[in-house]
């Protein structure tokens, strides 16, 4: 099973889209989720889930307007990922969530998003 994202970055309030290719015939659950890491206890949430028919397919998962956006701080980091689950197998693709209205601004002023 593979997860191919259309873009490696999305905005808060936007959506994360891509394609799941699954070998088996069973249904595939696709989750958009975030988690913290660092010095504190982990906070985590799955913000959206969609079920695809056997063999996978296209998905588009909305990102909440309030994020949280991806960042790597000194004590806290927030990481987003798309996880595809089918039977016992799981495939994960990391995605960077930028602030609302930040996609072009980020590329121009801060740094290009990671390659997809």
């Amino acid at each position: 099973m593979t997860v191919d994202l259309d873009a490696a970055a999305a905005e808060c309030g936007g959506s994360v889209a891509g394609t799941v290719h699954a070998v088996g015939g069973g249904p595939v659950e696709v989750h958009l989720r975030w988690s913290t890491s660092g010095h504190g206890t982990t906070d985590a949430a799955t913000v959206e889930t969609v079920e695809l028919a056997g063999g996978g397919g296209r998905f588009a998962l909305p990102v909440p307007e309030d994020g949280p956006m991806s960042f790597a701080g000194k004590l806290i980091s927030v990481r987003w990922e798309v996880a595809a689950l089918s039977g016992d197998s799981e495939e994960v693709a990391e995605v960077t969530i930028l602030p609302r209205g930040g996609l072009t601004v980020w590329v121009r002023n801060v740094a290009p998003p990671p390659a997809g």
Binding site: G40, D43, M69, V78, G101, V105, W106
Partner: protein
């Protein structure tokens, strides 16, 4: 346009004098309502229920008291009794890359006078985490920058100052409020006068995960 507005425009700062925060009023009313509900329930239980359990009376009384304290704190801000008081351009959160002018007002208490008051301000961002069941969080300042202060009105009793807040685009993450992990933005305002007690006040600032309009329109970088 008064002198302050003119100077603000020359600095390229938005001139907004909406010096009210409706969220303070809403929060005050909500907590006052909650307090009334708890004390009302306490009265009903105490008067109607025969031989009410002591723990229930204590719990309702404690909840009512906590709600009353929170309501009182918001009422002080809403009614302008907090001193010093910060006025933001609006009750909406600030955005990454925003530039706004906040106003701080301090009134003298008792026989103190504020002649010769100096005001300095800085914005700091803290990352605060809790690990496991630890009660005390660990925290670290991840960003700090001075803010430009302009005294706009002064007499011995009441002094106001404008504080130019610049929220950086990428040097610090926006506000975050999770169970164990927080990013907290604060404005620290230090006020000193020869004939009044020093005052160091901390005001919370809410910063949303959104880029300021001026940058989205293709304005200046960070």
């Amino acid at each position: 346009m008064d002198q302050h507005e003119h100077e603000s425009e020359e600095r390229g700062l938005p001139v907004q004098h909406v010096l009210t925060d409706t969220s303070d009023r809403t929060t005050a009313l909500l907590w006052a309502g909650a307090s009334a509900a708890f004390f009302g329930a306490l009265a009903v239980v105490a008067l109607v229920v025969a031989d009410p359990p002591l723990w229930l009376l204590i719990a309702l009384g404690a909840l009512g008291l906590v709600a009353l304290i929170v309501a009182w704190a918001r009422v002080r801000v809403w009614a302008g009794w907090a001193n010093p008081q910060l006025f933001m351009p609006s009750s909406a959160p600030l955005n990454l890359g925003d530039r706004v002018v906040a106003r701080v007002r301090r009134a003298a208490r008792g026989r103190a006078d504020l002649a010769g008051l100096t005001v300095t301000a800085e914005v700091i961002v803290l990352e605060r985490v809790r690990h496991g069941g630890s009660w005390e969080p660990a925290e670290q300042i991840v960003y700090r920058a001075p803010a430009e202060v302009t005294l706009i009105d002064g007499n011995a009793r009441v002094v106001e100052a404008d504080i130019a807040l610049e929220i950086p685009l990428a040097e610090a993450p926006p506000s975050l409020d999770l169970s164990h992990n927080e990013v907290v933005w604060e404005l620290l305002v230090d006020m000193r006068a020869p004939n009044a007690p020093d005052d160091l006040s901390t005001f919370a600032i809410d910063v949303a995960p959104q880029v300021a309009d001026r940058l989205q329109r293709g304005g200046a970088g960070r």
